[in-house]
């Protein structure tokens, strides 16, 4: 029964606080804590990552005190690994790996980088460095000094992080994709390129359904430039088998992620917050695909076990919500679950990285095609339809759209998506912009969520 869990018996599934994790952590045997290392098969002491959330709060991730976490060993592993990414990147540099920043394309660039030995791809806008989690405005203030102030997406924190030089090592190469990405992020990339003085720009075309082949040829040409740059940097020639292996690894991550989402949304066996963190992993695997894959396997086994033994972590009868972001504010997800809701369908802007790469096709064409098929490259209607399909399948009772004031795509598509959902699903939609990251959810947002949930309850 606990074979998947290294002999450890998880308590009855629950969402627990920061303090409760501290207590629970005391009960985890030392051998187990020693067992998990990043950059496997390395087993050196410096690469342990299984720590309770408190450790990371001390290092600055103070938001963790206000969240709730799944109480499984697999989830502890997830949180330890994700929170440890900053340290992991500095270690990567120390042990001679190349640290490559991949920006803006939500998936494919990391697949290319992973095909090179000793290269570590990372996402500078990964949410663990964003203000939502750091409870500090320092990155936003730095970004403002560099030219991107208020009324812009919080992803501008990535610019601040580059300028501060302390959240990740200065990358060996920055690859920035633009095209289908939004103006906010494209602007961030542009200023990062100016700040750092070098950047390899990659085009990511819009999806035109009747023009897929030429667009994928264009993308393949772009990928060839990326490969040449990486070959030059590493002094290695990329082989087709290395690329095929990287694709297979990416697909394994994407497949497990899709299954985990399904288990969470249909059977309520994992909380919304953990699922969101898992989804983000498809962008760059938190800079270590081997260990990330192992963690996903562990999570999947835990979730399947809970499903088989009918042990949900959130009440299945909770109000079923669909959620469309950006931005994905962990506090809001936590709050919604605390108030008796659960998430059953999502479009966090990162579904893009869930599309499988066809392993029967030539590798670069397959990567290009899967990218073009992604959610962000198409129309808002297609994005809405993707959400509607999920929401319908999982019988969502309401949709929350949390946007950003001044986020370029929010301004243009939130209303359209909201009205399509209303029309097709006949469910209520709550739309609001999240307040700037803060210690607490602002009162107005809280009241609006409360009233919305009340409305959904009354419709039952």
């Amino acid at each position: 029964m606990t074979g998947f869990n290294f002999g450890y018996q998880d308590p009855v599934p629950a969402r627990i606080t920061f303090e409760e994790w501290d207590d629970l952590f005391q009960q985890i045997p030392d051998e187990l804590i020693e067992k998990f290392h990043y950059f496997p098969p390395n087993q050196d002491a410096w690469s342990k990552y299984l720590f309770p959330p408190q450790v990371f709060a001390i290092y600055g991730a103070r938001h963790l005190r206000r969240l709730k976490f799944d109480n499984s060993l697999a989830a502890l592993r997830l949180w330890g690994f994700v929170n440890n990414e900053s340290e992991r990147l500095f270690r990567a540099r120390q042990i001679g790996r190349r640290v490559i920043a991949v920006m803006g394309d939500l998936g494919p660039l990391a697949v290319l980088v992973n095909a090179f030995p000793d290269c570590v791809p990372f996402y500078p806008d990964c949410w663990w460095w964003t203000p939502f989690v750091m409870e500090s405005k320092v990155l936003l203030e730095t970004a403002a000094r560099l030219g991107i102030g208020e009324a812009t997406c919080y992803s501008r924190a990535a610019l601040g992080a580059f300028a501060k030089h302390s959240y990740f090592p200065d990358p060996d190469l920055i690859i920035a994709a633009t095209g289908a990405s939004c103006d906010d992020y494209s602007g961030v990339e542009n200023l990062v390129a100016r700040l750092t003085g070098s950047c390899l720009w990659v085009e990511t075309p819009l999806r035109q359904p009747e023009n897929i082949e030429p667009l994928s040829d264009l993308l393949v040409a772009e990928y060839h430039r990326v490969i040449s740059a990486l070959e030059e940097l590493t002094g290695t020639h990329l082989t087709e088998s290395a690329l095929a292996q990287s694709i297979a690894q990416a697909n394994a991550v994407r497949t497990m992620t899709a299954r985990l989402r399904q288990l969470a949304y249909q059977d309520a066996v994992l909380p919304a917050l953990e699922i969101m963190v898992i989804e983000f992993g498809c962008l760059h695997y938190y800079s270590d695909i081997a260990e990330w894959t192992a963690i996903l396997r562990h999570l999947l086994a835990t979730a399947e076990y809970r499903r088989q033994t009918r042990q949900p972590v959130v009440p299945p009868e909770a109000l079923r919500l669909a959620w469309l972001t950006p931005p994905a504010d962990p506090l809001l997800l936590t709050y919604a679950e605390d108030q008796g809701a659960r998430i059953v369908a999502t479009e966090y802007v990162i579904n893009q990285a869930l599309t499988l790469i066809d392993q029967s096709q030539p590798p670069l064409t397959a990567i290009a095609r899967s990218h073009i098929d992604g959610s962000l490259n198409g129309t808002s209607r297609e994005r809405a339809e993707m959400l509607i399909r999920q929401a319908q399948a999982n019988r969502a009772e309401g949709l929350i759209i949390s946007g950003i004031l001044g986020g370029s795509h929010c301004a243009m598509e939130s209303r359209l998506i909201g009205s399509l959902v209303r029309e097709q699903l006949q469910i209520p939609v709550l739309e609001f912009d999240v307040a700037p990251p803060n210690r607490e959810i602002d009162r107005q947002t809280k009241t609006r969520i409360d009233a919305f949930l009340e409305l959904l309850r009354s419709r039952r």
Binding site: I148, L191, W201, L405, M412, L416
Partner: protein, 374 residues
């Protein structure tokens, strides 16, 4: 007496367009300077740039879009429902330049039933062969779209002719643009913008004689202007045809001797190569236009600005952005640093509420430049 009576000419043209439409000609509305008008003409369409945004329509546009959409997009959407010129269009052509423009056609499709084409222009500006090849392919798709609506197939010779006409028109406009550079400007930037907006509305055959006539009158100093220091460069978001307050306020006190506005001098830059494959020539010209700030990298825009500053002895920059226009807004700090010149930043939404305040700010800026404010 005015040098150019734009309003009058525009009103007459509206009647003419109604007649043309009644006779079966197809009108092609477009929003962006990356749309190859030569190709539209060669396919038998009448290209009209739709850049008449204003405050009332932008306010009404909030019925369809959030308040934090850019005023130009809000206004354009509303005008498609209510402005007589916009409502004449038989087709609309958009380019995915910025995020707002990328998404606007989809919204337009939910409000009006005019056929829409979205021209995909690579957002990256380095002219790699695969990018240009794809853009050329996009132009061929655009040609198919227009041809289907007009029933006129494009032949290479006809396209070549239109390219030559386009080149003549741009060249004539460039020669007149140069008149604003002299110490006593023979043409104001307001007048230049009038002419350029007419170039996007009238037929070249009607406009070319008009340009010659205006040039003749301007160089003969009919207006006996005074020297108007200091010398400014105007940069930033699109300046709509009906919303030129910034230009008129500036020209009360200073001379705008250069601009990088897409409804201004950027519209008339460069020539299209003739004598080669016309589609390829169009693709290369339009792909390589001085990049909008939303293209990556946009270094060439900065180089162009620096060159204008040096050549035209620019003393200060006026940087005006529409509210929520990220592509331009994000460049403000770096532009100030890259040029080292005093820069006045104006963020506006077409409303005239802050008109007097704006006048005061401009006056103060001009005083700083002339040293009077010290």
């Amino acid at each position: 007496m005015e040098l150019i009576n734009r309003q009058d000419l525009a009103a007459r043209r509206l009647n003419e367009l109604q007649e043309l439409k009644a006779r079966g000609r197809k009108l092609a509305g477009y929003f962006c300077l990356y749309v190859p008008v030569e190709l539209l003409r060669a396919a038998g369409a009448v290209p009209i740039r739709l850049a008449r945004a204003d405050y009332p329509s932008s306010q009404l546009g909030e019925r369809h879009l959030r308040a934090d959409a850019c005023p130009f997009c809000k206004s354009s959407l509303e005008k498609l429902l209510s402005d007589p010129l916009y409502r004449l269009m038989d087709m609309l052509i958009f380019v995915n330049t910025c995020d707002m423009m990328r998404r606007l056609p989809e919204l337009v499709g939910t409000r009006v039933s005019i056929p829409v084409f979205q021209l995909y222009l690579p957002r990256t500006a380095e002219p790699f062969p695969a990018r240009i090849a794809e853009f050329e392919h996009q132009l061929r798709r655009l040609a198919d779209f227009v041809t289907r609506l007009t029933g006129t197939a494009i032949d290479d010779q006809h396209l070549q002719n239109e390219i030559e006409i386009g080149n003549r028109l741009r060249s004539a406009l460039r020669s007149i643009e140069a008149l604003r550079v002299s110490p006593v400007p023979l043409l104001t930037t307001g007048e230049l913008f009038d002419l350029i907006s007419l170039a996007t509305l009238l037929e070249p055959a009607d406009l070319l004689p008009l340009i010659a006539q205006i040039k003749n009158r301007a160089t003969n100093q009919v207006f006996n202007r005074q020297p108007t220091p200091p010398r400014l460069l105007l940069a930033g978001s699109i300046i709509a045809e009906e919303e030129r307050e910034v230009i008129s306020l500036l020209e009360e006190r200073a001379a705008i001797v250069a601009d990088v506005i897409c409804t201004g001098a950027r519209f008339i830059e460069g020539d299209i190569t003739t004598g080669s494959d016309p589609f390829r020539a169009l693709a290369e010209y339009y792909f390589n236009r001085i990049p909008c700030p939303c293209r990556r990298p946009n270094t060439a825009l900065f180089q162009h600005i620096r060159q204008l500053i040096a050549e035209r002895q620019v003393q200060g920059i006026v940087f005006q952005t529409l509210l929520y226009c990220d592509p331009w807004r994000f460049e403000a700090r770096d532009l100030r640093r890259a040029t080292g010149l005093p820069m006045l930043e104006i963020d506006h939404d077409y409303s005239r509420q802050h008109f007097e305040q704006l006048r005061t700010r401009i006056e103060a800026f001009v005083e700083i430049l002339t040293g009077a404010g010290k």
